[in-house]
Symmetry: C2
Subunit: 139 residues, 2 copies
């Protein structure tokens, strides 16, 4: 690590994409601090996010650009963008409209391990009905 | 997604490892909500984390189990373990001793994008001197 600790380069130079050209992005609610989801970005989606300040990802399942909220309306206004020491993970702090999770919860991390590790419990708030928002094919 | 929304299976059954047998784990300070780092777990390190309730990862660079804090003393006591809707990302809520980042910051996400996207600024607190803790080879 250089003396300036990595801020003497541009953000674009700092980002290290993996062998598939992707970088993981952790998404956090800027007000509550709740971790909402993780998604992946390619160069194009990251550039779009920087320009528009609305979160845009690369959908690995659909193999296309994915503007978060394009179907559900649950867009993410990007307030702050951080990068980690290794340059291989991004942290977006966002204002989330509605729920981030396609199942209908505020956060995708709506399940937690219970005491004995063998079971799980719901640990988040459900905000919408997935079928109503995405149609019957959801989930 | 089933009616029980994924809690009718065990945590171990819910976790989906990638083609390298790894799952990313986001690490968040349980008290402040600050996102501290992201690391990867294989089955063995996840089982060790669940058993010991101290964070253990798989080091991709060193290709071995990595008990966080084994060199620095900056261990992570695991208070809560969540999993996302797709089962392919874990969220650990921890009590972090000292700084999480090998550069010496509290969080690995100590750099943020500045207004014009072309520059970055430090946005976190430095807690220790990396050379003192890890030796001259660090960074």
């Amino acid at each position: 690590m250089k003396k300036s600790e990595g801020i003497d380069i541009s953000f674009a130079e700092a980002v290290k994409y993996d062998q598939n050209g992707l970088v993981p992005a952790i998404v956090q609610d800027v007000d509550s601090g709740k971790v909402l989801m993780m998604a992946y970005m390619n160069k194009e989606s990251l550039e779009m996010t920087l320009k528009e300040r609305k979160a845009c990802y690369w959908s690995r399942s659909r193999q296309k650009l994915w503007i978060k909220g394009e179907t559900s309306g649950n867009v993410q206004k990007v307030e702050q963008i951080c990068i980690d020491c290794d340059g291989d993970t991004i942290l977006l702090k966002v204002k989330q409209k509605g729920g981030a999770c396609h199942v209908g919860y505020h956060s995708c991390f709506y399940r937690q391990v219970e005491g004995d590790n063998e079971s799980m419990a719901i640990c988040d708030e459900k905000l919408f009905d997935a079928e109503e928002v995405y149609g019957k094919s959801s989930g």
